[in-house]
């Protein structure tokens, strides 16, 4: 029933499954997962090979079959040409270089090596499947094409897109769009060119395409290695006391933090009016109050409305706390603020007070203030 070869594979795959179970039982966590998945994959692969062996009956040819003397795989003159030994060698070389140079190359080498081995195996097997070359090729194609085409396509697409984006990153922000347009125009024009010259030979087209792709990829590679243009990281400044305390225009977005919260859902509205007064409104607490109550440890949405004709910002002074930093006691005064708000503008801010008012130093209570305006202050009570 089972051929010798397939028995061998069955045995090994059972062994792998047993090992997987043993791993799963004896280890916890990611190690067990990785090992079990790996071993189960191995056993599946072995079962696959078993199936092949079983299907071709170990490639055994019956001695009674007179045709076999001419048609059996053994009677084949020689195997077909193969590029996989060469690819395998390339992989080996990459592994060697990688060991010396960088892990990336090493890993790439491993992948190439594995691919070459697998392809080699399949080709070797398919060469012996029958005496018919064309049939052998088709058998190989059946198994390998569904793997090769999508993977090659995906890799190709990725490489092209990636190199392209590298080129863009290398270029300056100004010239980028220009290059982009030129490239797109080239593609389109090329299309029109080929469309208008139906007699153009296929090989010429293929040649041009190959050159273009190679050019793109190699430029990309060069530029990827060469580095990117300088890019400055935007720093977050809004929580810095220096910014909050000034009335100077900084390079910030005027309309930052426009919230989703509708008016009815804010914890408090803080208003700065034309008389230079700052006061708070909370549902049910009257129209004018110099004190607002916010719950401790609670995310509170605050709306700031500027009804004056100056451009101002609202600052939330969130107390003063003694903090232990590497053994020394430091007093921290957390502050947060809105950006500058135009007259009649409004802005939201999200605040959390993790500690009650009692916890802050009496000299630094929780307050809302407007920098530079004396007496514009609303007390925040956190019970």
């Amino acid at each position: 029933m089972f051929t010798t070869g397939s028995k061998l594979f069955i045995g090994s795959s059972v062994l792998a499954i047993v090992a997987a179970v043993a791993f799963g039982v004896s280890y916890d966590g990611a190690a067990a997962w990785t090992a079990a998945i790996g071993l189960i994959s191995v056993s599946i692969a072995l079962l696959f090979l078993m199936a092949i062996n079983f299907w071709v009956r170990d490639s055994n040819v019956s001695g009674m079959d007179s045709d076999a003397t001419t048609t059996s795989a053994a009677a084949q003159e020689r195997p077909s040409n193969s590029m996989w030994p060469a690819v395998g060698a390339l992989g080996g070389a990459l592994v060697a270089i990688g060991l010396v140079a960088t892990p990336v190359v090493f890993k790439a080498g491993i992948v190439v090596l594995l691919i070459a081995l697998f392809e080699w195996l399949v080709q070797a097997w398919s060469d012996r499947a029958s005496s018919d070359r064309r049939f052998n090729a088709s058998v190989r194609g059946r198994i390998m094409h569904p793997l090769e085409f999508p993977v090659l396509g995906a890799v190709g697409l990725t490489v092209i897109i990636y190199s392209f984006s590298r080129i863009m990153l290398f270029l300056s922000k100004e010239s980028g769009p220009a290059v982009f347009v030129i490239l797109a125009a080239l593609i389109t024009l090329g299309g029109f060119l080929f469309a208008s010259r139906p007699t153009l030979k296929a090989s010429v087209v293929a040649g041009i395409c190959t050159i273009a792709t190679l050019g793109l990829v190699s430029t990309g590679a060069v530029m990827a290695i060469d580095g990117e243009r300088e890019m400055h990281e935007h720093a977050t400044v809004s929580n810095e006391p220096a910014v909050c305390s000034s009335n100077e225009e900084t390079e910030v977005d005027e309309k930052a933090s426009q919230g989703v919260a509708a008016k009815s859902n804010v914890a408090a509205t803080i208003i700065y009016n034309a008389d230079g007064e700052l006061y708070g409104q909370q549902v049910g607490m009257g129209e004018y109050s110099r004190m607002v109550t916010l719950q401790r440890s609670n995310t509170s949405q605050i709306m700031f409305r500027n009804l004056s004709d100056e451009t101002v910002r609202l600052v939330a002074n969130m107390g003063a706390f003694e903090v232990d930093v590497n053994g020394t006691t430091v007093t921290e005064k957390p502050v947060t603020c809105t950006t500058l708000v135009e007259p009649d503008g409004r802005q939201f801010m999200t605040l959390v007070f993790p500690k009650s008012s009692a916890a802050t130093a009496p000299t630094d209570p929780y307050t809302f203030t407007v920098p530079g305006v004396e007496g514009a202050s609303v007390e925040i009570v956190v019970p």
Partner: protein, 395 residues
């Protein structure tokens, strides 16, 4: 037949002595508005249901196969159809108009006389009363939990929010429910006609102990309410030196005060300097809050109102008190005789065993080392006795 049951349920529910969360026994103006709207709707629905079910019954009996000839192959009468479409439409218009007006009625905030902030977190409610002229005047903020104390016959406005997930605040006898959503403030009107105690429960699924997140609203006469406010603002009194409670104060400071605030509690260093003890629940609890225990024994429940601080007998006395007697009885708080020490001991001994919470070490690992709920503190029985003695004086 079930339509009938539903309709009769609607009628009967008004007279029996029912569950404390019965939605058909309004005890305040807002719930009454809802009730005035819902019973006619139930009635109409019940009548329509009876008619339709009767029609089905009639058809089923009258036109069953008794050997009559094949019926006429009629495809319908458009006029009849249109009439039968318009009829329910008219009924619904009749229902719709009062519905809309009630919706806007219940959203009105302009007649507010008293403000209370309600904050939900897993799995208990915090109530804080901002300093205000309303509610008859509150000089300093009050923070409490478990029982929402409100003045009777006063338009109270609750400002609802949440510290972690969505909860829903619901005292059926006083008003419908309203979700408390983190980052948002929702308002809910509350008004109780008479002094008394009204049960409620969190009604938005909020995780493991959702079933154990209850609350009670307590309505007091405005005078009694002022007494209550005064009680809440009374300064801290240290236990008598050397008493069991004094040992309890030390045990409390060492074990409980990390999270639970007791206003006025202070610690004395060996050199004689006195520093107030401030709770930092933000460092230990995901929601960043734990119930304030300053006047624990003025309320009748603990652990998210899941258990009573009163023994069953004392509890029933409070719950069954007439509106006139209620205020005085409630203001007595929890006395030593009435203390339900059994549940309280079990709770202090191992809280997560009594109420499912995320407080074990393994569970803490999933949330930056913070607990959700009260962890088991590993106290011995002596310490528990001392802490209970100390808590008994928090009145």
């Amino acid at each position: 037949m079930l339509g009938l049951t539903a309709a009769s349920a609607a009628v009967l529910a008004g007279c029996a002595k029912d569950a404390p969360q019965d939605t058909w026994q309004p005890k305040g103006e807002n719930a009454q508005k809802i009730h005035d709207l819902q019973w006619p709707v139930f009635l109409v629905a019940g009548i329509v249901g009876v008619i339709v079910l009767a029609a089905i019954g009639f058809v089923v009996i009258r036109y069953r196969d008794k050997g009559q000839p094949m019926p006429e192959q009629s495809h319908g009468k458009p006029a009849l159809e249109i009439a039968l479409t318009i009829l329910p439409a008219l009924i619904l218009v009749g229902v719709g108009i009062p519905t809309a007006s009630t919706i806007f009625d219940l959203a009105d905030e302009s007649d507010t006389e008293c403000i209370i902030n309600v904050t939900g977190q897993q799995w208990w409610w915090e109530y804080d009363y901002p300093a205000q002229d309303g509610c008859g005047g509150i000089a300093e903020p009050i923070v409490t939990s478990g029982q929402l104390v409100i003045p009777a016959n006063t338009n109270v406005l609750l400002r609802l929010t949440s510290r972690d997930v969505i909860h829903s605040f619901w005292i059926p006898a006083l008003n419908g429910k309203k979700d408390t959503v983190p980052g948002r403030v929702h308002t809910l009107r509350m008004q109780a006609d008479q002094p008394g105690i009204y049960a409620g429960q969190c009604t938005e699924f909020c995780g493991l102990s959702h079933a154990n997140m209850k609350m009670e609203a307590v309505a007091l006469n405005p005078d009694d309410f002022q007494t209550w406010v005064g009680n809440q603002l009374e300064p801290y009194v240290s236990p008598e030196a050397g008493s069991q409670a004094a040992l309890g104060e030390a045990a409390f400071t060492a074990n409980c005060a990390y999270c639970h605030q007791v206003n006025g509690l202070s610690s004395t260093a060996p050199d004689g300097t006195v520093t107030p003890v401030l709770a930092n629940p933000d460092q230990f609890v995901v929601s960043g809050a734990a119930p304030n225990l300053t006047h624990l024994m003025t309320r009748n429940t603990f652990a998210g109102a899941t258990w009573d601080l009163l023994t069953d007998e004392c509890r029933d006395r409070v719950w069954n008190a007439s509106p006139e007697e209620f205020g005085a009885l409630y203001l007595q708080g929890v006395t030593a005789e009435c203390l339900n020490a059994v549940d309280l001991r079990e709770w202090i001994r191992n809280a997560p065993a009594k109420k499912p919470m995320y407080a074990s070490d393994a569970q803490k690992a999933n949330s930056d080392g913070k607990v959700r709920g009260m962890p088991a503190l590993g106290l011995n029985e002596t310490q528990i006795d001392q802490i209970i003695a100390y808590l008994l004086e928090r009145n």
